[in-house]
Structures are given as structure tokens and as C-alpha cells.
Amino acid sequence: MFLSCLLPLAWLIYRVVSNDLGSDPAQELVQSTGEWGLRFLWLTLAVTPLRVWLKWKWLQSFRRMLGLYCLFYATIHLFTFITLILEWQWGRLYSEFLERPYISVGVTAYLLLLPLGVTSLKTIMRRMGKRWGQLHRSIYIVAILAFVHLFWQVRSDYLEAVVYGTILMSLFMLRLIWRWPQYFRRVNS
């Protein structure tokens, strides 16, 4: 499982090495790492519904890893964007991050995701107690922001955004169906 989550990265590295990223490899690399970040975020959010619904208890042990992979791909996404598209020009970094709403939203999502990754260590988790659960509920905000980040870039076709949006909506709906209070008492151990 751990290794299979590295497959997208391995595939990207293979494509870089074999010069198979097309005519605009910088753009391609930024885009695909972003998409993989999004996919791992969706997978992370799918763990709880699947565990409760299908009684797949074993899935729970992978939730932290999936979340960390989301952060991992999001980090590469942000790093390649700054390196390959903005080329570390501070003026451009400043103006792009502040003046382009879809980029501001993406950066905000990343900044909110970062503390979730940091606090995922077991010792910190234990020390934080109840507050850990409260903090990690911000993953829902991260997911919404990440979706807005994607949606805002749509130019000619909504299909991809609709697919991601529908999955996210159903993941949210499943949680609502269980009625919030009861659900959280059961799930947040």
C-alpha cells in the first residue's frame, strides 16, 4: 500500500527521464502533481465512509498515510509551480499569490493542510487529545478550497471538475446522513 502510493511519482519521474512529458513539461508536471494531491485528499476523505458503510476496519490504519501522501503531492505541486512556472522570482511570487484568486485559494488550502500533516505524529496526537479532532476537521475546508482551486481554472470543459465535485459532494453527504453528533461520537476515537 505504502509503495503503491508512490507509483504516480515513479511514473512521473520515468516520464521526466524518458522525455515523455510533451511539449510543455513544466506545465504537465505541475498539473499532474496537483491532480494527485487532489486524488489523495479525496481518498483520505473516503476512508471513514467506507469503513463505516462496508465495515472495512482495516482501512482506518491507512488514513494517516493517505493524508500524508496528499500533503506530499501537494508539496511537490507547489514546489514545481514556484520553481518551474514562477522560477523563484519574488516579485512574481508575490503578485501571483495575492492577485490570482485561484492561486491564493490553493496556497490557503496548502497552509491549512500543513499543520494537519505536522500534528499527525502519534505523540502529538495523544498530547492534543480532543483538540486534535477539532483541528483535523479543517480537512473539510481544505477539500472545499482545493476544489475551488480546480474549478476556478476551468476554461472550456467542466467534465473533470464535475467528476471531482460529485465525489466530494457524495463524501460530504454520507457524513450528513449519519447525523453529525452521533456520527462523531462513534468515529472520533
Binding site: 510533451g22 485561484y102 470543459d157 467534465l159 464535475v162
Partner: protein, 339 residues
């Protein structure tokens, strides 16, 4: 300014292949001269044989109907050139925005290969003395085809340098005698869901057909080209076969592909992207580093192809570097308002 090929060229007049292949160094030396004479270069019809761009084996090339192939062989060098390195043929034919075939850059190359561009007819309509539906051969035949190297700047901040094969749009438009009411020229792309899967998508933001337009002055400008080919060969379907527009000082989306209709109008038509997002795309769409797209900067561009180690980024030039020729068209206009 019609350029006709003399029917019997002496073999001594034909540029030898080695000389032709060395044209870059020649162009490099004469580039300052070329910019001085700029448009006068149109008249220096230097004979070059077609198919002179070497293309690697295994990379697909395309052949058109016989009448067109014959014309392409008689390609003339228009004098419109660039000292910049050409974007390789493979990148030109595999990295395309042609939403009729899908939203991704590789969709056109993947999905357009079966596209039927022969026979093809073009409708001329609107404010002109002569209108009607014409076979492509009748449209193209009166004109000699030219080899013109233009920069292409996409609104998405990437750019290419492409050797087109075509003839000035002005020559064609004059033939149909536009009336005094003809203030704009509108172009329409084919609609055919069976051949163009992008048009069948229910999630597309585009209301087909794709429509573009120019003011009559822009359409009559000697730089404005109707292309039937690139790299000395027939236009590939993913690049807009059999007939497309090339307006090098405007963002690429103005250069409409697979044209089926040209209409002279009195009022300014609404072009497709302006209809989708009027805040982001205007009618003029002149390349302008001073006016950012609301979602990204237009100050710089990535020249394709690039590598991860050298993104080949450069500063975008006003009117894509064709200001000397076209800036006068917009004298006195506030280009931040009329973007």
C-alpha cells in the same frame, strides 16, 4: 499585391537545397534589413521548392488533395521570416488547443486523425457584392502560396514559432467585393459532432459553432494570413485543416481553425471566448504584456518546446513583436479597455 508563380521556372533559378537549408544564417545577417523593408518583403517572391523543412522519420506528415499538393510544391518565400528558432514540427502538431476535439492539449492530435477535410466548401456571406458557397479549390486556386514564419502567442502564456503555408486573407476578401457596410469579418468553424467529439461534450462551456471575427482593417492587413499548410506541407487536421486563419499579433484563439464560413458584417460580432468570459477575453485580443488575464500574468511566455531545466521563458512583446506593422491600426485606442 497578388503573387503569381511564373509557370516555367528555369532550374537555375531554383534555390538549391543546401542554400535553402542555410537560410537561417542568411536570414540572421539580413534581419535588420528585413525589418526595414518589412512589408515590402511581400514583393520579393523568391522561389523555393516545397517540402524543404526536414522532418524526422516516423513523425506523421499529411497530404491534401492533389490540386493543393501541386500548389504547395510552388511555395514562395514571402520574406516574412524570423531569426528565432522554429518550434519543432512534432511540437506544432501535437500540442494544440482545438476544443472541437476536446479540452486537453493532446486531444486534437489523438482524436482528429480521421477528420475529413476534403472535399471542403466555404460559404462567403453578408455585406459583399459576391456571395455564395464555393469549393475550397476555387477559393485557394487564384493565389500563390507563401512560406511565412510567424510567432504564435497563446493567451495561456505559451508560444511557438511556426512556418505557415498560406496566402493573405485580404486577397481573398477583395475578390468578393465587400460593400461599404462591411466593417467586420466573421469566421465560423465547422460543426460536426460525429467527427468532433469535443462538440458532443455536455460539459463544454462553448456554444458551438466556434466564432471569431476581425475588423475589416485587421482582416485586410497584409500580415493576416489564411493558412492551408505548415512546415511546407499540408495542414494537419489538429492544426485546423483544411483552412485556418493566422493573425500573428493577436492571441492564438483569434486564429480560428477549419473555417466553413466567412461573413462580412456591419456590426461587431461576438467572438466565442468573449461570450464565455467577457471579463477575460475581449474582441481584439491583441497580445499585450500590459494587460493581464484576470487569472494569470501576460508579461512573460514559455516558448515551446521547453525542458524542466530550461523553461525557455521570455518577455512577451507588445503586439507579439509586430507593433511596427500593426500598432497604427489601434492609434488612439485605450488598449486596456479594448483588450
Amino acid at each position: 499585391m497578388l503573387i503569381r508563380q511564373s509557370p516555367d521556372i528555369l532550374s537555375s533559378e531554383i534555390t538549391s537545397e543546401s542554400t535553402y537549408l542555410n537560410r537561417r544564417s542568411f536570414i540572421g545577417k539580413t534581419v535588420s534589413l528585413a525589418t526595414m523593408v518589412s512589408l515590402a518583403g511581400l514583393n520579393s517572391a523568391l522561389a523555393v521548392a516545397g517540402y524543404n523543412y526536414p522532418i524526422k522519420e516516423g513523425v506523421p506528415t499529411y497530404t491534401g488533395p492533389q490540386w493543393l499538393e501541386k500548389k504547395i510544391v510552388d511555395l514562395t518565400d514571402s520574406g516574412f521570416s524570423s531569426s528565432e528558432e522554429l518550434t519543432p514540427y512534432l511540437d506544432v502538431i501535437r500540442y494544440n488547443n482545438f476544443y472541437e476535439f476536446g479540452p486537453d492539449k493532446n486531444h486534437p492530435a489523438r482524436r482528429a486523425q480521421e477528420f475529413i477535410s476534403d472535399p471542403w466548401s466555404l460559404e462567403i456571406a453578408g455585406e459583399a457584392e459576391k456571395t455564395g458557397v464555393f469549393h475550397l479549390e476555387d477559393i485557394v486556386n487564384p493565389y500563390g502560396l507563401e512560406d511565412r514564419i510567424y510567432r504564435l502567442r497563446c493567451v495561456e502564456a505559451w508560444s511557438m514559432v511556426v512556418p505557415w503555408v498560406g496566402f493573405p486573407l485580404a486577397e481573398l476578401l477583395k475578390r468578393f467585393k465587400p460593400t461599404s457596410k462591411a466593417k467586420y469579418v466573421e469566421f465560423t468553424t465547422l460543426v460536426d459532432k460525429s467527427q468532433m467529439p469535443g462538440q458532443a461534450s455536455s460539459f463544454s462551456t462553448i456554444d458551438w459553432p466556434y466564432v471569431e471575427a476581425l475588423s475589416i482593417d485587421e482582416a485586410m492587413h497584409p500580415l493576416t494570413l489564411l493558412a492551408v499548410g505548415l512546415y511546407g506541407r499540408m495542414l494537419p487536421p489538429q492544426n485546423g485543416a483544411p483552412l485556418r486563419l493566422v493573425v500573428p499579433w493577436k492571441y492564438g484563439f483569434k486564429s480560428i481553425k477549419s473555417i466553413v464560413k466567412i461573413r462580412f458584417t456591419e456590426h461587431q460580432p461576438k467572438n466565442t471566448w468573449q461570450l464565455i468570459a467577457p471579463r477575460e477575453y475581449g474582441f481584439y485580443a491583441n497580445v499585450n504584456p500590459g494587460v493581464d488575464h484576470p487569472r494569470w500574468s501576460q508579461k512573460i511566455e514559455r516558448r515551446l518546446p521547453n525542458t524542466l531545466f530550461d523553461r525557455n521563458t521570455r518577455e512577451t512583446q507588445m503586439f507579439n513583436g509586430y507593433g511596427e506593422q500593426v500598432a497604427s491600426l489601434y492609434a488612439g485606442m485605450d488598449l486596456t479597455k479594448w483588450f
